[in-house]
């Protein structure tokens, strides 16, 4: 389990980097590592940008990789809208740093095999991201 701190842009991306290292150590197929790294990074950045804190859990079994993230953030009002490419509620400051292009959530969906997003306004958001390991995952 990893903890993510909100608004800590200096450390942003460290957790997804560590997840990538773990998957490398385990010999997971490279294309899956890549997709998982991007999805984990996007989710991590969402936590950093919008929430006070969050937790990322990596679970593995021989068939799937499951990354779940729970944050204690403001929540998302309209998930369907948030999933649209280009839609963003990022502040100008975030945009100046190159974030908030409205591609985060769509990007997770694009890279994951399964992506579930739950959110309650005022309580937080939870992400459930799943990757299927094909039978040839060990190279």
């Amino acid at each position: 389990m990893f903890h993510i701190k909100g608004a800590d842009f200096g450390k942003a991306g460290c957790v997804s980097l560590e997840i990538k290292d773990i998957l490398h150590d385990l010999g997971v197929d490279l294309s899956i590592v890549r997709r998982a790294a991007i999805a984990a990074y996007e989710a991590e950045m969402n936590v950093v940008m919008y929430a006070d804190k969050g937790e990322m859990i990596l679970r593995l079994n021989p068939d799937i990789i499951r990354i779940t993230i729970e944050d204690m953030g403001p929540g998302i009002k309209d998930i369907e809208l948030a999933m649209q490419e280009g839609y963003s509620t990022a502040t100008d400051q975030m945009r100046e740093m190159g974030f908030g292009a409205g591609m985060g959530l769509p990007n997770i969906k694009k890279n994951a095999d399964l992506f579930k997003l739950k959110s309650r306004v005022g309580q937080g958001t939870s992400y459930d991201i799943v990757f299927h390991l094909n039978p040839k995952e060990q190279t």
């Binding site: 980097l17 490398h24 150590d25 385990l26 890549r34 790294a37 060990q138 190279t139």
Partner: protein, 461 residues
Amino acid sequence: MNQYYHSIRIDTDKCDGRMKCLRSCPTQAIRIRKGKAVILEEKCIACGECITACPNDAIVALTDPFGELSKFKHTVAIPSPALYAQFGRSILPDRILEGLKKLGFDDAFDLALTCGDTSLAIEHFLEEYKGPKPLISNACPSVVRLIQVKYPQLVDHILPITLPKKLAARDIKKNKSEELGLKIEDIGTFYITPCPVKMIAIKHPSVEGGCYLDGAISISDIYGPLFSALESVDQGSYRKGLESICILGIGWAVAGGMHRSLKLENVLDVYGIPEIIKTFDDIERGKLRNIDLVVAYSCPQGCVGGSLTVENRYISYNKILRLLETLERENIEACRDKREIRERYQQKHFHMPHKYEPRPSMALDEDLGRAIKKRKKKEEIYDSLPKIDCGICGAPTCLAFAEDVVKGEAETSDCIFNVPSKFRELTGELSRELSRLLDDFGTIGEEWEGMQKKQKTGKKP
């Protein structure tokens, strides 16, 4: 052939295990085993940092000796443009090429020309490229190896344009064999190299596709003889010398030089492996997508900073930079015709015949279940270590040590901080044994004293 694979060797007679290389290696590819440095081949990217760091000159690059020239009927020197930067500002490439001929080469070819061609080819390639961005320049083989080993997911980002030295060697062999009526194998092409990594492509062509180069001689080996030879080369007209320089190619030796004359705007220059690693981490997370090309050199300041160069890298960097400025000011562009290059580009003259393959380091275990267990074990071991990366165990960091232990290449007791607990365990047994002995000794002592008294009284009649 296999032993050439790494182009870096450790002379175990000279190595006294002082760990300078261990600490300097950017990919943690060195271990100290039984007091001597050992290179882990699968992690080494042949950047040459360890060669510079070794105080005993125990780490050597496998380059070719001069004697190899006699094997061929016609020999051509192909110096890296970094060679031009090794001599004073007034000594221009034309004179250096003449100097090389005095050393015994039948001909010397100005590689900057081919670099210029390749620059234009890269420009064409970027214009029509639609794949994942940013592209990463393949000019530095250490960077390519770093990607293959540590960032295998990024191999698709490597620029698939053949390197100038290979193109040049291919053309030279073809043209010279036609011109002189010799067989291809009778013509020897020798690259004059600023760093050890460039040997790999030559000595182990299967790694990077076929190669028409026959050998590589290090700049540091040729510097002395060439320096003397230059004295006997007529100092021709400076202006004429300038007019022979291809502005698009001469900059390849320094960071930022490759694309300077192309006026490409969306290009990043990165140098030094630690900085490159940070940048590649970003690319891996899907950042920098708006950048067209990342030109990364493992050595500071570019090839002029290679471990087999002689001159101070900042001085050489400056020489090339001033030269570029002069050429720009004087409007000199002694490069090949741009239309001709475009035509050759369209005929796929510059495209690489093969793709770069990923070479990821081994997983902890082939079986995923066991690999997960080992990974957890690795974290446990790491948590128990002092995390000061002292290196005494022979691994560069505590984390690397934990991994070595899990892989069965080291033992936890190799860590000096684990020695006291091991020591206590052993001394516990020892002290128990000792106290038993002391008890026995006590009774023996009493007997001894008794005997002494008896003797004394006996001696005093």
